[in-house]
Structure formats: structure tokens, C-alpha cells
Amino acid sequence: MAFLEMRGIVKRYPGVLANDRVDLAVEAGEIHAVMGENGAGKSTLMGILYGLVQPDGGEIVIDGRPRPFRSPIDAIAAGLGMVHQAFKLFDSLTVWENVVYRAEPRRGPFIDRAAARRTVADLARRHGLPIDPDARVGALPVGVKQRIEILKALYRDARILILDEPTAVLTPGERDGLFQVMHGLAADGRTILFVTHKIHEVMAVTDRITVLRDGRVADHMVTAETDPQAIIRAMTGRNVSLKADRAPAQPGKPLLEVEGLTLAAPGKPTVDGVSFAVRAGEIVGIAGVAGNGQTELIEIVAGLRAADAGAIRVDGRDVTAAGVAGRRAAGIAYVPEDRAHTGTALRASATDTLSMGFHRRPPLSRRGVLDRAAMRDRARGLIARFGIKIPGEGTTVGTLSGGNLQKVVVARELDHQAPVLIAEQPTRGVDVGAIEFIHAQLVAERDKGRAVLLVSAELGEILALSDRVLVMYEGRVIAEVPGADATETSLGLLMAGVTGQAA
């Protein structure tokens, strides 16, 4: 029997069978990938394993003992650790304080600070996770924060580590470091569950793979005996090409021009004198590790944030002083990076969500009075045209999977037919089928003569779509590379701030 077994796990949500008799078996010392499109049931399965979600059926057996987890506290006690996608750290506390939180070594009623610091430092050294135990967490880069999350689990002597999309926020270099740590932990006899979408990472680092599709196990695979196409087939039930087919760009006049945009911040500006232009009929990609000013830059261009200096022109018109509405009227459509917090209202219906931005003019309203029937008709039309899987236009969008929610946002923004389209992380956390669809839409927009500005932390996406690539590092555009000449290696170095040979 395997070290960790989940047998016949069933979880029902209203209208959805999230997990349907899922089996998962992982040996001690194994790195095991859990793959699947969004909505396939990965998060539910991992949530059940970690005690966050209560299953409706099935059992969890660890080391031969059945283990019903009523809460993460039970799971942690049984030797589980989870590194969430969004870190759960206290920014104002130090590294060691974060690591020992709720399991502090004590001397009488007080925390034994010296012992705590020593333990954390030893642990970090032993597992090859270089870290300063006294650093304030808030000031640390994301790669280091992730190490703290791993240390938290190891400090509680986790034998089974769940890593939920751990590479989404890392540079290629940090990612390779993480893989080394994972190998070290596995050699130490620990079991790692690696939840991810990224097939090449699975190929590089895992021993075996469990693929979920529509809540069921689509396949159990041995990594050494499979290939990326087989994994994609298992995930989607069909063949998908990740390379977007497209003709060379035919750039026309500049539709979006940005000049010297600066956003001041204590110390170093977050956005530092950024200038570029996006012309009709081209896709310009902005590559960069998350947190290098891309988010702020796009918020400024979209009008959600005021710049301290610089100018923005849309189709030759200066919109620097305009608000969001003014810029949208001038011709900017915008797929924001955070669909749940910015791009939609999760508790609103699809009709209401799809109407936003169109609701002030005919046909959706006249003289301030909405035409609810027209709103529903339009929503139904977009749902059909973009293949959004939703029970009806009155359904609240918070019930949709990530890919479908993103399609709602993309459908609404493309419907503006605006000359400038900003797509920010358009496929983050989206399943392979939806990625293919969204990429094809972006290329189609380009071919219609729109200027597309693509921001992505996903190098594969930048490489597949961009006619030109701008690399952002610490608030500045440090390089511009023609799309044809860009490679993962050259961009990876630039994203880490290494210029000199290129650019």
C-alpha cells in the first residue's frame, strides 16, 4: 500500500460533482503532479486532503491509518503542509516569527526567541533554503516568501507537502532553485504533491502524475513514460496546440502611446519613466516577473491609478487627464489581471457583469433607464458566441470556473471593439482549452487592426503571441526584443535584470 492514499473521494457542490470517486496514491519520497484544467477538481481534492473541505464520501489513508481531517489543524498534526498560491504571512513580522507562529518554542510563559531563531536558521540551512531569520517579511521578494511558507511546513515536520501552483510567481532562476529544494525534500523521504498547469515543469521535476478531468481521474501516469501531448490529451480529452497560429504582423499607425510614465514611491519609483507605443495590427508583450511595476503601469494606462508624470495618447488623442470612462470612450478595452476582484463582481449575475461599461448607452439603456430585456439578450448572445459554460444569464458569475469567468471578462471587453486592447495575464489560472481560445481571440483582434498590449508573467504566452517584447524590471522597460528573436533563455535573463549582451 502506498504511503498516502485517497480512495473514492466524492464531493458534491450544488449542481456540480467536484470530485467523483477520485483515487490518488503517492509513495513516500515521491514528487507527484496533480494536473487538470480549471474546474477539474484539483483544488477541491487538495482542500479535502488538507482538511479545508469536507468530502461527501471516500477516505484518506496515511501510512496505513485512516485519517478523517475535520480541519487543517488535524491535517497539520498528521504531517501535512500546504503552500498556498496566495501566501499566508504576516508582512510586519520577521521570518522566524512567521515560521514558528502557533508552534512557538516556549520557556515558561514566554517565547524562547533564541531557540526559535536557531531552529529556523538550522532548518533553512539543512534544506538549502537560504534566508535571513530576522528579515521583515513584507520587504522580501516573492521567491523568498515562498521559502518561508515551505519552512513553516517543515518546521511542523510535514511529511507530505502540497505545493499549489508554486511557480506562478517565480523567475526561471527561482523556479530552478525551487525544483532543487523539492528534489532534496523528496530525497529526505518527504512526499510532494505538486499542483500545476505547466506541463514542462511536470516533465522536469515529477515522478508520477495524476490527471483530473471533470472531477474524475482521467489518467495516472509515470512521468518518464509519458510526453506532453499525452498529458494534454488526458487533461482536455483532445489535442491542443499551445503555439498560436498567426501570420507576421502588419503594424500600422500607433494607437496607444505612452510617454515617461512615472509612479513615485518611497525610495525607488514603482513605474520609472516608461515609454512605448503599440501600433495597429501588432501584439506587444510586456514580460517581467510579477511585482516589477507591470500591474501599476497598466492601472495607470487604464485610468484606475493616477501617474505622477507622463502622458498617454490613444489614437493620437491625449487622455492623460481623462478618467476610466473617458479612456474607455477614447478606445481602450481592458482585460484586468484579477478577474475576481476587478474584472467582475462575483455575486452579480452574468447579465449585470456583461453589461458593465455598455450600460449607459443604447441599446442597453436610454436616458438613464435600463432595458433589462436588451441586457439579457446581449448576455445570452455573448455567452453563446464565446462558449461560456453557464446555466443561464441570470446565474451569478462567482459560481463559474476560472476559465469560464475569464471568458466572461474577455467576451465583454472584446465586444467593445475598441482600437486598443490591454490583456493582463489573460490566461492565468485558466484551463488549456480556454487558453487556446483566448490566444486565438487576441490574434484575431490583432489581425482586425487593433493594437494589443499583452502583459504576462508566463513566458510561453509572451513568446507565443508577441510581435515585440518589452521586458520590465524594477519599474523600467530594460529591453525591447522582436518577438521572432526572443527565447525563453534570453527573456529569462532580462527578467532577472541581466542586461548587457541583449537589448
Binding site: A302, L304, G323, V324, A325, R328, Y334, P336, H341, T342, G343, T344, A345, L346, R347, A348, S349, D352, T353, S355, M356, G357, H359, R360, S365, G368, V369, L370, R372, P391, G392, E393, G394, T395, T396
Partner: protein
């Protein structure tokens, strides 16, 4: 309406009903503990609220209470809170009294002008608090509440000194003459044309909420303000407009009380029934949804009117009805809190 929305609506209503039921049970236990028969006490409240002339009393009380419910519910729909209802109410009453007393015009003109002026001044005063948030980042919760006190203070001063009617022993203005008062709607009852004005306001609020672009923007702001800003709504301007509407309704209530009930502005008279706070509770009970808020306001008005009758008929003080109100809101808040886990 779609199936999902009606299911949601159903769940919300049922949790309100449970809260009311739970409140009544707790109220009954309190009554029992005090040595009274809860059935008799509730019977007195019910009779005192709806039987015979009491029904008219309830309606008369409901007009200002439901009005102040809307004052709270309008911003609450967009996730904003107006705690300055008292100040806006008093200002509206004072302005209405001054215009009705001193505007050189025929009575009916004075009446209309008094109401419009009260709405404009109170609306502007609430918008001032909103501007404080938009321009200076003073949270609305604080700016509305704190601006309430200068309004009360200034009104109190004006009623006590420059505008005072020296013939009464009270800190109050002269009496508004008959022609400039709100006419009685149902003879023999305290129900005035204020009821009609309130119904018009309710109709307008519900219409804008259901069918207006402004209502759509406000409702979605309540669900996710970032989304609305991303969609092109200027949140600052929306805050100011919403607070203006909210304050204007408070001004209308003040004007209705002065021109239809008290016929003069008396210091503190508008505030002692605490319409603002009952209205806020009613609006919270419905989470800002206008029709639900109006129903909750009616319910509270009935409870309070019934409380007076109960106090007369039994030895139980009418503060019991205020306890009931508070317990119901607490139970509802608990249910929402529990479900969020």
C-alpha cells in the same frame, strides 16, 4: 426574475423571518422573567399597532421612520453608510420652518418651496460629508456622523435665540400658519399628504434601483466597488450624488414632520423618537434592498406604536419593543456571520 435570483431572495427573506421569530422568542423570555404573560404583552402590541385608530397612528409613525429607512438604505445599497441622518433631518426641519415662516409668498408656494429647500439643504449637507471622503479621505462613516453635531448645534442655537417665539416657554420657532402646512390626507387622523410624498419617493427609489443606470451602478458597487470603477464609474462623484439623494430624503422627512405634524421647529423634537437609528436598523435588516427596507421600516413602526399601547395597558415599559428591534438585528447579523464561514 430568474430562478437563481429568486432562490437567493428566498434565502434572505427566510433568514429575516427566522431573526424576527428568534427576537420574539427572546422577548417572550424577557417578559416571562419579569413576571408578565408574553402572549398578553404581544397581543397588546399587535392590537396597539393595527386595531382601530391605532392603525392610523402606525401609518403616521411609519412615514418618518420609513423615510429615514430610505436615508440609510440608499447609500447602504452601494456599501456606504450615512450616519448623519440626525443632522440632515434637523437641518431639513429648520429650513422648512424658516421658509414656511418667512418667505414672502402665498401659502401653497411657501409649502412647496419649504419642502424643496429642505431637501436641497439637507442633500447638500450630506454631500459635503461625501466630499470630505472623496477629497480628503475622511471615511464617510466618520464625516457623516461628526457633521451631524454642528447641524444640531446651529439649529438649536437658532431655535433658542434669533428665531425663537417668545410667547411659548419652549426653545422653538413661531407656528407655521395653516396655509403653508401639509394638508391632512385622511380627516380625523394624523395622516397627511406626507404619506403621498413618501410613496412617491419610495416609487422613485425602487424604480431607479430596478431600472435606472444609476441604480445598477450603485447596486454593483455594493457587490464590488473595484469592478464598478474599472467599468468607468467615477466612485467619488457617485458617492457625492448618492449621499445627496440620501440627505435630500432626510430633509424631506424633516420638512414633513415640521409642516405636517409639529407646525414649528422645536429644538430636539425631531430627534427624540430616534427615527434615524430605527431607520438605520431597518435598512440593515434588508441590507439596503429598498422594498425589503420599506417593509422592515413598517414593521418597526408598528412595533413602536404597539409599544406605546402595551405600556398603557400593561406594566411592561415600551423599551421592550426597542429591545426586540435590536435583538432581531443582532440575530440577523449572527446568521450572516455564521453563513460566511
Amino acid at each position: 426574475m430568474t430562478a437563481a435570483a429568486s432562490v437567493l431572495r428566498g434565502a434572505a427573506t427566510s433568514s429575516v423571518l427566522w431573526a424576527i421569530l428568534g427576537g420574539l422568542v427572546i422577548g417572550a423570555l424577557i417578559t416571562l422573567a419579569a413576571g408578565h404573560d408574553p402572549i398578553a404583552v404581544y397581543g397588546e402590541i399587535l392590537a396597539g399597532a393595527v386595531v382601530g385608530p391605532n392603525l392610523a397612528e402606525t401609518v403616521a409613525r411609519a412615514v418618518p421612520l420609513v423615510g429615514m429607512t430610505l436615508v440609510a438604505a440608499i447609500p447602504l445599497r452601494g456599501g456606504m453608510v450615512n450616519l448623519g441622518g440626525d443632522g440632515q433631518l434637523v437641518l431639513g426641519g429648520l429650513v422648512a420652518a424658516v421658509v414656511a415662516l418667512y418667505l414672502p409668498a402665498p401659502g401653497e408656494v411657501r409649502l412647496v418651496a419649504a419642502i424643496l429647500a429642505a431637501m436641497a439643504v439637507s442633500g447638500a449637507y450630506a454631500a459635503l460629508a461625501a466630499w470630505g471622503e472623496v477629497r480628503f479621505g475622511v471615511p464617510l462613516l466618520i464625516s457623516t456622523l461628526l457633521l451631524s453635531y454642528p447641524a444640531q448645534g446651529v439649529s438649536s442655537y437658532l431655535a433658542r435665540f434669533p428665531l425663537r417665539d417668545p410667547s411659548t416657554g419652549m426653545p422653538e420657532t413661531y407656528r407655521v400658519e395653516e396655509a403653508a402646512r401639509l394638508p391632512v390626507l385622511v380627516p380625523g387622523t394624523p395622516i397627511t399628504w406626507g404619506l403621498v410624498l413618501l410613496l412617491l419617493v419610495i416609487a422613485a427609489v425602487v424604480f431607479v434601483d430596478r431600472r435606472g443606470t444609476a441604480g445598477y451602478e450603485l447596486r454593483l458597487r455594493g457587490l464590488n466597488p473595484r469592478f464598478v470603477a474599472y467599468g468607468g464609474v467615477d466612485l467619488g462623484r457617485q458617492t457625492i450624488r448618492t449621499l445627496f439623494a440620501s440627505g435630500a430624503v432626510a430633509g424631506l422627512v424633516g420638512a414633513m414632520l415640521v409642516l405636517g405634524d409639529q407646525f414649528r421647529f422645536t429644538d430636539n423634537a425631531l430627534l427624540s423618537p430616534a427615527y434615524t437609528w430605527s431607520g438605520l436598523m431597518a435598512a440593515l435588516l434588508a441590507m439596503g434592498e429598498p422594498i425589503g427596507a420599506v417593509c422592515a421600516g413598517l414593521f418597526f413602526a408598528a412595533l413602536q406604536t404597539g409599544g406605546f399601547a402595551m405600556e398603557r395597558a400593561t406594566e411592561v415599559p415600551r423599551v421592550l419593543t426597542l429591545v426586540l428591534q435590536a435583538v432581531i438585528i443582532l440575530l440577523l447579523a449572527m446568521r450572516h456571520g455564521l453563513r460566511r464561514r
